[in-house]
Each structure stands twice: as C-alpha cells, then as structure tokens.
C-alpha cells in the first residue's frame, strides 16, 4: 500500500506510466472519425418521428404523403419490425413503437431519404392515428389502484432474474442482514429522512447515431456510437428477430458514453431502415432527440434510517427506495438492485435492510449512468453519517474510520472484500485539507466516502505475435475516450516486456473480437485487463518453448528480457521475438496466439449471512474505494453554492496509467458537481421541458474549481491485472453527498432534495437563520 510512485519491479515497463493515449493525436488534428463522420457510397440519411403523446394506442399510419415527398426511399414503423423485444433484464422493448406509444419522444416512425433535411421533412408528413390513454407520470401514480397499465403483457416477457413484476411494478428487490427491527432498541442515536434525487442527462458531447449497410446476401454491417458492439448486436438481433450471425457490429471513435450508449438507442431503427431501403442509412440524433429518446439517470425517492451507539458504532440501517423506471426496463432493475447493495456504504453495519420498487412510468427510459444508483443512496447515507457524528461530537473522519469495512470483511449480503485502501484515502484527504484556507478563513468542509465494484460479466482477449515479433491485441472492448485501449496495451506490453508502441490494438468487431460485455461498470481495466494479461502470458509461454528449442536448453533456464527477447539466464545469447515468430510462422508449431476468456464468477450473495430476493447481479466484482473532500462557499443572498477546492482520493488497486485515472477523477467529480448543484431534467406534464443545452445547464470551465487535488491510492487487488481495480465511476459517486455535507457545514441546514439550487439552499439558510436576507 502506497501513494503512487514508480514501482521498482517494472522499471522500463509500461504499467504505472502516464503514457499519452495514441488516439490523442488524431483527435487534436480533427481527424478522428466518429459516427457522424462516416459515409458510404449510396448512403441515405435517416430521421425519426417522435410520439407527441405520453401514452396512446396506435390505430394506424398514413404514409402516402411522406412516401411521395422528395428524396424519400423508405419508411419504417412498428408494422415493419415484428414482435421481437430487447432488454438487458426484462425483454420489454420493441425496436420502434408498436401498438402503443409509451412516452413523449418515443420513436414512432423513421424515414430514409437522400438528405437529412429531406428525411426530416418527410417525417412531418407522416400521419399517425392515436387513441390517447391516461398516462402515469410518477412511480406513486403507477402503483396506485386502478392506474393505467403500460405493459399489459408484462407477465409474458422474458426476464433474466426473479423480478417480481406485476402491474406497473417492473421489479422489486429486497435484501437484509441481521435483524434491523430489534436493533433499533440498541441504538443511542437514530437519524431518519426522506430524500429525492432528480433525473440527470448524460450529455455525451457526441449525440447518438448509427450507420447500417446491407450486403448482397442481406447480411448487415452496423457502425454506431456505442459502449459495446456486443450489446448492440444482441439488442438489434433480439428486437428485429435476426440471427446474430447476420449482423456485424463495428465502432468508430466514440464521443464519450456515460452509460447512455451501453444498451440500444437507435441502432435497431437504423438497421430496419437499411434493410427496407436496401441501401446504407445513417441516422444521427439531434441534441434534442438525444435528450428525449435515449436514457437518463433515475430519479429516486429514498427513505433511510440509521442508528448508532453513543460511541459512534453503527448498529443498523434501513433503506427503502422508489425508483422511476421510465417506459422500458433497460438497465433499471440492475441500477436499483445495485443501489441497494451499495446503500450501507463502505461501513460495518451488522443490521441492514434494503428494499426497492421500480415502477414503469410514461417517460423516457431511465438507465445506466456513471455511478449506477450509487450517487442517489449515497446522498442520503453520507449525510446521515455526518448527522450522527454531529450528534455524538465525532468529526467526519473519526466516525468513518471507526465504522469502515476492512480487508477480508464481507460487503452487504456477502461479497468478500479483497484489497481496501479506504483508510489511506481518508488519511490523504484529511492531511491535505487540514487547516484554514490560504487566506486564513475557515473552510466549509464536507466529506463523503464511497466504494464501487469492477468485474461484471464476460470478457476476452486475443494476443497475436505478428511475423516480425510485434503484437496485435484484440479484446472487443470499445474505448469511449477514457483510454482503455491504452491501458490494455500497457498491460499487454508489460507482460511481454515489450515497448508499448509495438502493441497495436484492434478496433472492436463482432466478427473478429472475443466477446466483451461492455465498457461500463468500471470494468474494462480490471476484467478485460485480466484476460489480456493471461493471453499475453500464453504467448510468452509459447515463445519460451520455441526459445528452449532454439537455444537448446531447458525452459527453466530461460528468462524473458526487456524488448522482446528470451535468453539463457547468466548467458548473453538470446533470441528475439522476431526470430521466434518467424520460426513459428514458417517452420515449427504455427503462429503464436494467446487467447483467454473469463467471466467474473465470485457469488454476490452468501445465503448464510443474508436474505436476497430479486438480486439482479448474482456476481458483481471487486471493490474500489474513495474519499472525497470539498470546501464550498455559499452566497448568503442568493444561496448559490461554489465549490472552492476538492480533494479526491481513490484506491484503484494499481494505477496502470496514473494520468488517465486522474482525469477520471476530475471528469467524474465535475459531472457529479453538475448533478449536485444544478443539472436537472424537468418535465412539464409528460413533456420534457428542457431538452437542449440552452435550457439544461452542464458545468463549463468557469463553473469548476481550479484546485482539484487527486490522490491515487494503490492497494493492489490480488485478482486484478498488476493489482488494478476500476476507476471510472468512483470519482462521481460521492460528489453530491460531500457537497451536501459541506453546505450543511456552511449554512447549518440539511438538504434532502437534489439538486442543491440557490433557491433551495437559500430557503434552508432562512430556516436556520444563516442568511443575511433574514437579518436584513
């Protein structure tokens, strides 16, 4: 365990070095190709007609006028897509609205035409005959007796876990450990509250898009903005009832995805258009469509109660969440289940009970978003830890140290914790944030801690030694800009003791890459990195057998040397990878290929310890930990919160590329800052009122503090590649919780609703008497 510093074991290697991403160069030159930048011969442009209704039956379409409009080649509606349904947990979603529309903005029809302008024009000429139905606009409404039902055939849908679906209840999860009901009696202090959190839009700077082409045999090639070519393949094939062998998915550069590009967006519609038009079709969403049709972070209602002994020892917590699912399940059952797994935080709480209900509503689907349910429950949980500390006179660091989980402990419901650098994270933040500000004024300091998993689901890697001894690495993991190609190449180069620039990373291709579930859940470095390291090791082993024959000595006498050479220990002579690979290609044994697949398979649930009903993730992964400190100012007339300084410490096991980890912490915090203070999707009835960047504010360079201090803590995980664990989400999770704690420090008022707008904070100050407005 140490703060990051060069590791003497790997001097000269790649791991632990802040190597600049090779794709940076084409990006600064404006040459990187994203989905909108791809063109095919004879290509048409697609556009979408969105539903004006929140809930309506589709009685029929009149396409006559649209089909006769200039440039139009094909139109697709629900009549063209069959009854196939897709969905990660519950297969409830057609490629395009069929029979009913379930939210304002849902794609109802799509047009392929010569130009985007012509396609959009034709969309406006399509007539749809709707029979309006009463809509469900909140989870509470959805659960009410006699509520209109969104999915009448819910009982028949395929579900991949025990969802407990009924009526508008999409899924329910119940987890418990110990005996919460009787534990309250042992508590000297109990805090309790109800919290609400808002919908947040991902706002990847690149709007979603896709391009599909059909070959002479009817086989489809599909490029799209994605986080997983394999999930794209599965979703398109399920929703269009295509065999997976008939669809090849590829990826251009991706203009970021924070969860919004993991499951399907408009890929199925684009493929349907191309199949009908028998020509390539490109469909690029507008920013407004990207807001209205893709997905967003779930609004949560969280009821939480936490109890402790007089010395600060946590005794019990109960957490109940009500989650807005939107119109389709998408990743929502996973998000809710995961939020409940995380609701105890990284603490030893012997009695813990969590339950959640996920309810269909007539809004766009909510889904995966960096943090995956963790930020919502953390906003409640980390404030309650501070409140207990306040009541007992324990400072925020002390109460967290006293209760934090340790290496070897079990997480809620059972997963065993491998490495745990949380104590070091707390030390780093406390030390750096100690004392007053540079100008001598006191800080308004807020702290929150978090943990996040990495590990989920299947992955693979193929490492091939080319004839000249250089390397091709193929994993199927989409690099969405965060740098996974770079990190995986570093792991591969390290294992082979080769220079980083001799490892080429293949672009994901469902025809040629091994399966990769996706660039999501902070998993690629950890999970795919493991596969890469194992596959590279196989290549080393194969090279060793060649070298033993070439140098006529036992394998045990050989050593792998820097720069792709194998030599006899104690002797100068060696053979190069080029010589070995040439021999393998042309004379003996065949080309060197290492191939490893794996799936994270440690069970989540320990039945001896806990009860778990409707658990969507039976195997989750290893734990990363983080502590976040913030210092805020609150304007005493407007209530506006400004974050002055940030200390973000994360235990990522081992930073394969420290700079890339740092940028994850920066970017994650700033996205969390927007979430904490102002980002909010607002509905006017059933219609999203602010689907544009003018009306939906995201942080700009002027809104972020200059002083964001990051501390990379390395407590290597024994199962991770060179000890690495995930780093993609942990920088965001704690932002709202830490900021809320700092605002409480500054104003004396607690907040239970996000975002912490000036209005809300000012109202809190008026109540607590800390606003100058009141004394004025």
């Amino acid at each position: 365990m140490s703060l990051v510093q060069p590791d003497p074991v790997f001097v000269g290697g790649s791991v632990g070095k802040s190597i600049a991403k090779p794709d940076n160069l084409e990006k600064v030159q404006g040459r990187a190709e994203y989905i909108a930048d791809l063109y095919r011969p004879g290509m048409l442009h697609g556009a979408i007609l969105a539903s004006p209704h929140a809930h309506a039956r589709i009685r029929g379409y009149d396409l006559t006028e649209a089909l006769n409009a200039p440039g139009v080649v094909a139109i697709v509606t629900g009549d063209d897509v069959g009854d196939g349904r897709m969905g990660a947990f519950i297969k409830d979603e057609h490629a395009i609205a069929r029979g009913k529309v379930l939210y304002v903005g849902e794609p109802v029809a799509a047009v392929a035409a010569r130009t985007e302008q012509e396609a959009r024009h034709a969309c406006r000429l399509i007539k749809v005959d709707y029979e309006e139905l009463p809509a469900v606009l909140s989870p509470e409404e959805g659960l009410a007796d006699g509520a209109p039902v969104l999915h009448e055939r819910l009982a028949d849908y395929i579900k991949v876990f025990d969802a407990g679906s009924a009526g508008n209840l999409c899924s329910r999860t119940e987890l418990s450990e110990g005996d919460v009901e009787s534990a309250w009696a042992d508590c000297d202090v109990i805090v309790e509250g109800e919290y609400t959190t808002q919908a947040q839009a991902h706002v990847s700077m690149e709007p979603c898009g896709a391009l599909a082409d059909v070959d002479a045999n009817g086989r489809v090639t599909l490029w799209s903005a994605n986080q997983s070519v394999f999930r794209v393949q599965a979703n398109v094939c399920e929703s269009l009832s295509l065999p997976m062998s008939k669809l090849r998915c590829l990826t251009p550069r991706v203009g970021a995805g924070f969860g919004n590009k993991m499951e399907a967006h408009i890929q199925p519609i684009t493929v349907a258009l191309a199949l009908k038009a028998k020509r390539p079709v490109k469909l690029i969403m507008t920013r407004e469509e990207d807001f209205e049709m893709v997905r967003a972070r779930h609004p949560f209602r969280v009821r939480m109660k936490t109890g402790a002994k007089a010395d600060g020892t946590l005794v019990a917590r109960e957490c109940e969440v009500l989650v807005d699912c939107g119109a389709f399940a998408d990743d929502s059952p996973g998000v809710m289940g995961y939020s409940l797994l995380m609701c105890g935080g990284p603490y030893r709480i012997p009695n813990l009970k969590a339950s959640g209900r996920l309810v269909y509503t007539n809004k766009l689907r909510f889904g995966a978003f960096r943090g995956f349910g963790n930020p919502q429950v953390l906003f409640a949980g980390e404030q309650q830890i501070d409140e207990i500390g306040d009541r007992l006179g324990l400072d925020p660091f002390a109460i967290r140290r006293k209760n934090m989980l340790r290496e070897g402990d079990q997480w809620f419901v059972g997963p065993r914790i491998g490495s745990n650098g949380l104590a070091l994270c707390l030390d780093a933040v406390e030390k750096a944030a100690k004392g007053p500000r540079a100008d001598g004024s006191p800080r308004n300091f807020g702290l929150a801690v978090t943990a996040h998993i990495s590990g989920l689901l299947g992955t693979g890697a193929i490492v091939r030694m080319l004839e000249d001894g250089t390397i091709s690495l193929n994993t199927g993991a989409t690099d969405i800009g965060q740098g996974s190609d770079t990190v995986l190449a570093q792991i591969c180069a390290e294992e082979l003791k080769m220079p980083f620039d001799q490892v080429a990373v293949a672009s994901p291709d469902t025809d040629g890459s091994p399966y990769n579930w996706g660039t999501t859940a902070s998993r690629v470095t950890y999970t795919t990195g493991r596969a890469v390291r194992a596959a590279a090791k196989q290549v080393v082993d194969q090279a060793m057998s060649h070298a033993a024959e070439m140098l006529e000595c036992p394998i045990d006498d050989l050593e792998l040397r820097e720069g792709g050479r194998i030599g006899r220990r104690g002797a100068n002579t060696d053979v190069t990878f080029a010589q070995i690979s040439g021999r393998a290609h042309w004379a003996v044994g065949g080309p060197l290929v290492g191939s490893q697949t794996l799936v994270y398979d440690e069970p989540t649930h320990d039945p001896k310890r806990a009860i778990a009903l409707g658990l969507p993730f039976p195997r989750i992964g290893v734990f990363s930990f983080a502590a976040l400190g913030v210092d805020v100012d609150v304007d005493d007339t407007s209530g506006q919160v400004t974050v002055q300084e940030v200390w973000s410490a994360a235990d990522v096991g081992r930073a394969i590329n420290p700079r890339l980890v740092e940028v994850q912490l920066h970017g994650g915090f700033v996205q969390g800052l927007g979430y904490a203070l102002y980002e909010e999707m607002v509905w006017d009835g059933a219609r999203l009122a602010n689907p544009s960047l003018m009306d939906y504010k995201v942080p700009t360079s002027r809104d972020v503090p200059d002083a964001i201090h990051t501390f990379i803590i390395e407590d290597p995980d024994p199962s991770g590649p060179f000890g690495a664990k995930g780093a993609g989400e942990i920088g965001l999770n704690a932002a709202a919780g830490a900021i809320a704690n700092a605002v409480a420090k500054a104003t004396g008022a607690r907040h239970s609703h996000l975002p912490l707008t000036g209005e809300r904070v000012l109202a809190g100050m008026l109540d607590s008497g800390t606003s100058s407005e009141r004394s004025a």
């Binding site: 030159q29 404006g30 190709e33 985007e116 740092e662 960047l693 995201v698 972020v704 200059d706």
Partner: protein, 158 residues
Amino acid sequence: MSKKILHSLNLNGEEVEVATPAGATLLETMREDLRILSAKRGCNQGVCGACTVLIDGKPVRACLTLTARCEGHAVQTMEGMGGDRVMATLQRHMVESGGVQCGFCTSGILISARELLEEDPAPSRAAVKTALSGNICRCTGYRTIVDAVCSAAEELAQ
C-alpha cells in the same frame, strides 16, 4: 428537394465552389458537401462550441453561420492549421496533459484557445477558463485542458 445555390468560399486557403441548399449553415455545407469533418455537431444551437471554426481569424460557431454569409471571407478549420506554430504547440500540450479524452470537443477547444493566445499570449488561468467557457467538455472536467493551454502559452513565450 430544396434548390441548391452555388457559393464560392475561401476554405483553408483554397477557393472552393459548392452547391448547397438554400439556408444551409456553414457546418452543414462543410460536412455534407465538402467532407470537412473536424467541426462537430454537438448541439446545432450555438451552445456547445464543438463546431467552432475561424472566419477571418475570429472563432465563430459554424452551426449558427449561414454559408451564404461566408462568401468573401476566409474560413479556417482544424484541417487547415497544419502549419500554424501556435496550434502545433497547443496540440502537443493537449496530447501530453490528458486534456483529450473522447476528443469530440477538442477541435473546437483548440480553436478557441488559439484565439485566446493570439489576443493574450500570457493568460492567467482565469482568463483561460473564461476563454473556454463557450466550449463544453463533458469528459475531462477542464482541469487538464486549462493546464495544457497555460503550459503551451509558457512554451510559446520562451
């Protein structure tokens, strides 16, 4: 469908003739008719800055600029900045600083930054942040981008 109109543009130092639909924006014309792709459509509303290009040396939003209005003006995009020393320095610092993640915002940010260094060769961090405040980046949190612009300015001042 809509009638195409012929325009002559000075794009990256070359005179080009382009037939583009009436009312087309510079962003549409560059992308759809000329395959100049470094300027991106992030919002099409003048908010995100991903479509930033230079017209007569000044940064503008290509999504808000009508192609017809560009006749007689010099349009410059990232494709045409190969020989620019200030840009080359900014690019190098961006590559090294970690200021490039997904890269969708990058071209627009670099063009805004170049304009800043033209006006103010030794900007404070606050000045850099103000100059870039019209370019949204959702990935980096801006810190490494501001670092890159400041260190590029320092190098250029030497």
